[in-house]
Symmetry: C2
Subunit: 308 residues, 2 copies
């Protein structure tokens, strides 16, 4: 089954200790789409400007991402400029030019209305709410957010949280949203705000998934080289939701697998700048890293009576 | 089989956002011993001053820790004063009074010479070397260190690394020792320095174990409350080596289990100040948390052909 992402398509200028790119293809919808499309068809709602390079549109086309919901606005494409130091969990923003993104009002094409797996990438919670009003009975809504909305649009954010199944956010955002330092307490608090599952991303330190019934934790995949962490969270979301939509199975066991696929996609994405690694990624490599993840984290349970 | 620890016994004055203690029982040998003795008999080599409170000696006695190697020196006991802010991975030292620890020259009692499982806690690598000269054919030597020795006694540290089986250190120490930011690269570099296994502790973010043949990663155990991180690393070492000595099994499978027991002990230790939690910890609780760790981290491997 296909997935729908509503988010940003951007031109990113990024510098890390390992290199830099100028006006490279980026944005939450981009990373999500290029990750999820390894699993299942992806439809995209976003906006770019009239200056958006054709070569980037060609990437979407080549990857058979459905861009009927990608609006070409009057004006320039959203641009982000930032850098990372050795702490690759921390992005430093130098410049954000919203451009056409400022007036973005997501319009869901008729053909997308029945898509059942939805990713509301990190945009204004008011716009996230407007998306849900245009969708018919989704099976699963995954929602991302960021500190800016937690601070500036808390009321709207709390409204959208009542409507989504899973909230995806990073550790500092979880702490800011809940006022709880312990991620254990923060997760529990978020579940009371609406979502039945919370996923907390911890960058290179892995991720946690929390529900009333179970907790799941995975470490980060230890990488030889991390070149550019941009888009790791959205690549994670793409692997996670893409796998769930592909299998149509929302059992706890399958959710745990989806977390691993999410981590696999994020771990590949950060190996190169922009979407380069996702673009050339082979399905075989996904399977290989999943299995390596399993080998790397596996340990035996205790037999009855052990050390007792 | 029993384990031997050579390290410090100290009086710690510690403040965290959640409380404080004054001149509480601490030190690497103390935390290790009170953790490992849940698994196997522990013998200790350390030094305290003539001011060392009898109530602390009584704790060792009550826990049946063999203190024939605990010297009572002329002078005052080693004292450490420090605090933690919300980033509990980072200890801030306010005062270190070495006192009798300054002249500490570990003497291994005749009765200890044949102990086969050795923990060289974080002391001067020259002293660590002198310990190994006094021991007969150990089966496993686990060695800790810290930034101070990496900077001040690098030559001696490199000598001891050639003699130990496992080096245990935290992420920033691994980076400093090897000059490699990637923990993947740092681990590989350490293996070339001598140890056949490296364990990198990442505090609340879990731990990695690395050898030529396998990699193992576990996330941190998500805790509702962390009150005092002091001694987490030595509690980890106690669970890890205590379990290995108890089972006498150095297979990869058992090493993985030992990592989980180490994490369980560290996760309990940080729930209360000083050694209070380890002191009242029940074996049943260790088993419970191990099993919870398994439930929390488990996911199914892929069947042949999945998504392929």
């Amino acid at each position: 089954m296909s997935v729908l992402v509503v988010g940003s398509v951007a031109l990113d200028t990024v510098k890390t200790p390992f290199g830099e790119v100028k006006e490279a293809l980026g944005g939450s919808a981009t990373y999500f789409a290029l990750s999820a499309n390894h699993y299942t068809p992806v439809s995209m709602v976003a906006v770019v400007g009239s200056d958006f390079p054709k070569k980037h549109l060609d990437i979407f086309k080549k990857k058979r991402i459905d861009t009927r919901g990608l609006e070409i606005g009057k004006g320039k494409t959203f641009r982000w400029k930032g850098y990372y130091e050795y702490d690759l969990n921390q992005a430093h923003t130098q410049k954000t030019e919203l451009n056409v993104f400022r007036a973005f009002r997501p319009k869901i094409p008729k053909e997308y209305e029945k898509i059942e797996y939805i990713f509301l990438a990190n945009i204004d919670p008011q716009l996230q709410l407007s998306v849900l009003k245009q969708i018919k009975r989704p099976k699963l809504v995954l929602c991302d957010t960021m500190n800016y909305w937690i601070e500036k649009k808390r009321r709207e954010l709390l409204l959208i949280l009542k409507e989504v199944d899973i909230l995806l956010l990073n550790d500092s955002e979880a702490r800011e949203l809940t006022g709880k330092h312990s991620l254990f307490k923060a997760s529990r608090r978020i579940l009371r705000m609406g979502p039945r599952i919370t996923i907390i991303k911890k960058g290179e330190h892995g991720a946690l998934m929390w529900s009333e019934n179970f907790h799941f934790a995975i470490p980060g995949y230890p990488l030889e080289d991390i070149n550019d962490p941009t888009g790791a969270g959205d690549s994670f979301a793409g692997g996670f939701l893409g796998f769930l939509a592909y299998t149509g199975d929302l059992s706890e066991e399958n959710m745990r697998k989806a977390m691993v696929f999410g981590s696999v996609m994020a771990s590949y994405n950060v190996e190169d700048f922009s979407i380069k690694r996702l673009e050339r990624l082979k399905d075989k490599e996904i399977i290989e890293r999943y299995r390596e993840f399993k080998r790397m984290t596996h340990f035996e349970d205790l037999n009855k009576g052990a050390i007792e």
